[in-house]
């Protein structure tokens, strides 16, 4: 009997060895080399360090030609100190996805090289005229630019005609976000401005005869600018009228969400070396800055960090939109949990503090990369300056294990995820339609990476594509609550401005874990209309039009 027990024990042990290999995580494969991509991020670095150089390479994922396949746009720098795109190495780039999954360069055909522009930073995608084709705004040193999508594969520079190009001279605009702040069904635009700078006023900082990038405090802070959409292709600058002019900062990433659940879109701006801003919409065309009061302006010790990229999503699925932003190594990336009014510092409890200390993050976002229903945190990393062996860094993926704690799984994301460099822009979207989010990343003076998710977690998903009718067509900020057949509740919302200088696919993604049945999908449109859909199958794109009542 004793022998039999031993045998059984050994058999069980062997079985457990055979049947329970450690679960393999989905990872990422760079497919950029399969396509002919002329673009390299070019910040014109030749030894002399100009203040804006660490910022370059905004990215966008969107379907510009409505062929059902997501395309990619990449912004680029300019020759310094000339501030001109003196040759094609500084051109922006539009990559159209072909039916075989490769990308073709259609920049010139589309009219988006930016040849006449200066140094471009951020790309903001949004259908401002509700014609069903996504338009493109470029935040820049020098004039900003608005490109109207003509619907035939080409764009027209409508900056002057739209009235959106105006800003104080030499304003350095790094990012922007479309949203409908007054709920009139038209997308307005907020531009995250950083400072006033020109090559002539650039401060040269030297240490032991070596250039280094100066502390941002050498430059003045400026407020963000808000442009109201008048509905006829024209915009008016309402920065003063909206009260935003009262709140200068050094704007970097910008996130749009309804943080207080009142149905009106609010704005979070991550400020570099300045307190972050949380503009709460007062529903009368004005905003009140409440970052300090609500606990998002400073870190847990009342100190301002070098806030960079940001995202606002509900990472713990409690129905309230939380905030994440990254900063530089030695500081602490901030995960701020919305407690229904005030925000709670959550980096320590969630382990993000420990995981992030050695990284300098730029563009970042909450993405459920493994479709388990918990949003993970991706960050494109690399220090500001090239001063030590720790300066070039790889991307990170912090996996959300249970809505409370994160673990660093970067090492399991595949070798294409891990090259060290100075990563800057990043955009998210399901490029190949397999239900898993892919990533496009730019890196200073490198070719971009198109990181395809291997999507082999076995988990299920739902993509919700919303079309507003009373609300703006892009329905930015529309909240989606998904309840699975087992009763699990998941939350997300339409967010295009994600990370830093970048725009992600507007469709709302849900990972469902092992569940294949969805009991209901409830949509809260920006117009205030609430729509509920029931009994939905998983693993599909669910297209929903806003009802008019």
């Amino acid at each position: 009997m004793r022998g039999a027990l031993c045998l059984m024990g050994a058999g069980t042990f062997l079985l457990s060895l055979l049947s329970a290999p450690p679960p393999r995580r989905p990872h990422f494969v760079n497919v950029a080399a399969k396509s002919k991509i002329p673009y390299k991020t070019n910040n014109s670095f030749t030894g002399r360090k100009y203040f804006p150089q660490p910022m370059c390479g905004g990215a966008a994922i969107f379907d510009f030609d409505n062929d059902g396949r997501l395309d990619i746009f990449l912004a680029n720098g300019a020759k310094l100190p000339d501030l001109k795109k003196t040759d094609s190495s500084f051109f922006n780039c539009l990559l159209r996805q072909k039916s075989d999954g490769t990308f073709e360069d259609v920049t010139a055909r589309a009219g988006l090289t930016g040849k006449g522009l200066d140094y471009n930073f951020g790309a903001a995608v949004g259908d401002y005229d509700n014609d069903g084709f996504e338009d493109l705004f470029l935040a820049s040193m020098g004039p900003n630019a608005l490109f109207h999508n003509n619907g035939d594969g080409t764009f027209t520079d409508v900056t002057s005609a739209s009235g959106i190009g105006g800003k104080p001279a030499n304003t350095l605009s790094v990012a922007a976000a479309w949203f409908d702040y007054d709920n009139d069904g038209l997308l307005d635009l907020i531009v995250s401005d950083y400072t006033i700078w020109s090559p002539a006023t650039d401060v040269r900082c030297l240490m032991n005869d070596q250039d280094y990038y100066c502390n941002p405090h050498r430059y003045p802070s400026v407020p963000p600018r808000l442009y109201r959409n008048l509905g006829n292709g024209r915009f008016t600058d309402v920065t003063v009228k909206s009260q935003l002019a009262r709140y200068p900062g050094k704007g970097m990433g910008v996130s749009i969400a309804d943080f207080n659940g009142d149905g009106w879109m609010d704005v979070f701006i991550a400020n570099d070396t300045e307190p972050n801003s949380l503009f709460i919409n007062r529903r009368d065309g004005t905003f009140e800055e409440k970052g300090l009061e609500l606990g998002v302006a400073y870190d847990q010790n009342a100190r301002a960090g070098s806030s960079m990229g940001c995202d606002a999503k509900d990472f713990d699925n409690d129905g309230k939109v939380d905030i994440f932003f990254n900063n530089l190594m030695g500081q602490i990336w901030q995960l701020l949990r919305n407690r229904g009014g005030l925000f709670q510092y959550y980096s320590s409890i969630s382990k993000v503090q420990k995981l992030s200390m050695t990284y300098s993050g730029w563009s970042a976002g909450f993405i459920d990369y493994n479709n388990d229903g918990w949003k993970d945190i991706y960050s494109a990393n690399g220090d500001v300056d090239m001063v030590s062996a720790k300066s070039p860094q790889h991307d990170t993926m912090f996996e959300n294990t249970d809505g409370k704690t994160f673990v660093d799984v970067s090492g399991e994301m595949g070798e294409d995820f891990l090259p060290k460099g100075y990563q800057r822009g990043s955009a998210f979207g399901d490029l190949n339609g397999d239900g898993a989010l892919d990533i496009v990343v730019t890196s200073l003076n490198q070719a971009p990476r198109i990181l395809m998710n291997t999507a082999d977690s076995g988990n299920h998903w739902l993509m919700v594509a919303l079309t507003g009718r009373k609300s703006a067509r892009d329905a930015i900020g529309a909240g989606v609550k998904l309840t699975t057949a087992s009763g699990r509740e998941l939350y997300n919302h339409v967010a295009i401005s994600v990370g830093f200088m970048s725009s992600s696919d507007k469709r709302v993604h849900f990972g469902l874990g092992e569940e294949t049945k969805i009991a209901s999908v409830e949509i809260r449109w920006p117009s205030g209309i609430v729509q509920t859909l029931k009994n939905i199958e998983a693993d599909r794109v669910l297209s929903v039009e806003e009802p008019l009542k």
């Binding site: 405090h217 300090l292 606990g295 302006a297 400073y298 009342a302 709670q344 409890i349 420990k354 995981l355």
Partner: protein, 368 residues
């Protein structure tokens, strides 16, 4: 057996027998019990004696020692102070009083008594080292250096002096001088003390991972080494490992409940993780060690803010900024408190002050 009966009789009939007892016999019993290590039984005997002879300083001092021996420091302090009224210049009683304060975590009061003792007996090594340790705990590093420099010249091989002086120099950012002093300890091989000092030096040099490694090893070699867990906690904070930092501070507090830095930093970690009440207890203890210490008071105000009591936070912070008008973080926290109390104008004012101070500091830095 006889002793048992005598004690039993005393405890059964304390009032009836007290008046009939020979006071000197009671004192003798108390001393015998005390010397035999039975302080608990000696205490009522001393008290009975002092009821009969309230002016006997030695007996009161002994009662203080017995109370201190059973951990009742507050009562011991009262007895020592009463004894000193009868014999104000008695160095033994004052030293005991200082030690009781020290054990209570009332470092400031202990330092006061030790300063008087040191002035009277500057050659006394024990008093010197205790006073230096108090000053170190109070963060008065310069005073430690002033106190110990002459002693180091006289007795360069005194490792205790080298340890305290080296620590003070490093904490005062005189890292090179500190390293020279601790070199003497290092020559004795890889000791816990040497590793602690090296770890501390690396902490000051912002080499946090390396500091944590040294301090971890020091704690393994001698877990009882004062401050080793506290510094390990500080190193862990800088590496972002707050769970390990919490554990380290807790280890320090198990050995030395009145360690200021451990109380303060553990409180800050607990506060940021939402454990406001636990944090408050630690901060109250920290403030007993260093009354009025501004960082502890700031943390206490932050606890109030996070616990949803902005008005209490406001009161504390208003006082803090009055005392330390250049404390930027306090202005920011005060602005937050005002905003949460819907006192927008005052919030805006404090916010503007914080911004102005930050801009000023940055402008000075840029000029450098």
């Amino acid at each position: 057996m006889a002793k048992f009966f005598a004690l039993a009789a005393l405890s059964l009939f304390p009032c009836a027998t007290g008046a009939q007892q020979d006071p000197e016999r009671i004192l003798k019993q108390a001393i015998t019990l005390h010397q035999a290590g039975d302080a608990e039984e000696a205490i009522p005997q001393y008290r009975a004696y002092l009821k009969l002879r309230p002016d006997r300083v030695d007996a009161r001092s002994n009662l203080g020692a017995a109370l201190a021996g059973t951990g009742r420091y507050r009562q011991a302090i009262a007895e020592y102070r009463a004894a000193l009224k009868g014999r104000p210049k008695d160095p033994g009683i004052r030293l005991n009083l200082a030690l009781a304060y020290y054990k209570m975590g009332e470092i400031s009061a202990a330092a006061g008594e030790l300063t008087a003792l040191h002035a009277a007996k500057p050659e006394d090594r024990q008093i010197l080292l205790l006073l230096a340790d108090c000053r170190l705990r109070q963060g008065e590093n310069r005073q430690v250096i002033e106190l110990l420099e002459p002693a180091r010249k006289q007795t360069p091989d005194d490792l205790a002096v080298a340890y305290l002086l080296g620590t003070a120099l490093i904490r005062d950012n005189q890292v090179k001088r500190g390293e020279q002093v601790i070199d003497r300890i290092l020559r004795n091989g890889e000791s816990a003390e040497a590793l602690l000092l090296m770890g501390t030096a690396k902490l000051h040099a912002l080499e946090f991972e390396a500091a944590a490694a040294d301090l971890r090893k020091a704690a393994e070699l001698n877990p009882q080494l004062p401050d080793v867990h506290a510094y390990l906690g500080l190193a862990y904070i800088q590496t972002g490992d707050t769970a390990a930092a919490r554990a380290a501070f807790q280890s320090e507090l198990e050995r030395n409940p009145n360690d200021f830095e451990s109380n303060l930093n553990l409180a800050a970690l607990l506060r940021q993780d939402g454990h406001a009440e636990e944090a408050r207890k630690l901060l109250e203890r920290a403030l007993r060690v260093r009354p009025g210490e501004i960082r502890a008071r700031f943390q206490l105000a932050s606890v109030e803010l996070e616990a949803g009591r902005p008005d209490r936070a406001r009161l504390e912070l208003e006082d803090i900024v009055k005392q330390t008008p250049r404390f930027v973080e306090a202005h920011i926290a005060l602005a937050t408190a005002y905003y949460r109390l819907q006192r927008k104008a005052e919030g805006d004012r404090e916010r503007a002050i914080a911004q102005k101070l930050t801009d000023g500091a940055m402008a000075s830095k840029s000029k450098e």
